[in-house]
Symmetry: C2
Subunit: 125 residues, 2 copies
DNA sequence: AATAGCGTATTACTAGCATAATACAGTTAA
DNA sequence: TTAACTGTATTATGCTAGTAATACGCTATT
């Protein structure tokens, strides 16, 4: 069963997006595996203190991306192969790093300074 | 007069936030200077194809942060000193880099790999 | 067979973002 | 002085995110 122990809701981003991202990051980190069982919508809703409809929206999006499958009465499970994992990894990393790089360039930050900032802040987090 | 030539609206973040950020980034980059005149709410609204109330919200937030001042009938101007610029710089950079570092750590990315990714993507943008 | 838990669907409500259409008072320049 | 432009304020509408309360049919387990 997939754990949401280290998951906390932040604001600024829709909750359903944060859940989708948490699952993707877990798959990339190797913490969440293929065929692993997702918590039921009602259970996760109770765990996170969030409305069941919000969980349902997250699960629906994951299903549309082919990352999980659901069966009425039974439950939901992760369904990813190695190729999908690689694609998700690229999708998340290039998106995140691209946003940062673009933002820093607009601030006239140099490449070496950008790397220095990343290394500095990396250790303080 | 402050230029919005290289500004394009993206979705996912409120438009008023994007405008606030654009001003802050311009100040950090040295493209926007103290005492420089902001475009009027109606003019910027027309330039960006956005409602005047959305511009007003952005300007109100900038005013609350002490980054601009407004006078009815006259207009609005940037009011920042060197100390404020340094503070805005830290605020933006540590926020952005912190979000990326935290996200990468959750994906079990190593520090050296993070730096390599940043350097790679930096040149492709 | 029955019950508990599962996914799924619907309706109603609140809050925030954005638009739309005005209105009013202060400043500036012709 | 008057006309144009400024910031400011108000009211109404639509959309999305999120909550709340149900309801229904399927599956697994007892």
């Amino acid at each position: 069963m997939i754990s949401f122990e280290h998951f906390t809701i932040e604001d600024g981003t829709p909750i359903y997006s944060q859940i989708v991202r948490h699952i993707k990051q877990g798959i990339i980190a190797g913490v969440i595996h293929n065929r692993e069982e997702m918590p039921s919508r009602r259970l996760l809703s109770a765990l996170l203190g969030v409305n069941p409809n919000t969980i349902q929206k997250a699960y629906r999006l994951l299903e549309e991306e082919g990352i999980i499958e659901s069966q009425a009465g039974a439950g939901s499970w992760v369904t990813v192969n190695e190729q999908q994992i690689g694609a998700i990894r690229s999708q998340l990393l290039e998106g995140d790093v691209g946003v940062l790089a673009k933002s820093m360039k607009q601030m006239e930050i140099s490449k070496v300074e950008a790397v220095r900032l990343l290394e500095d802040i990396w250790d303080r987090i």
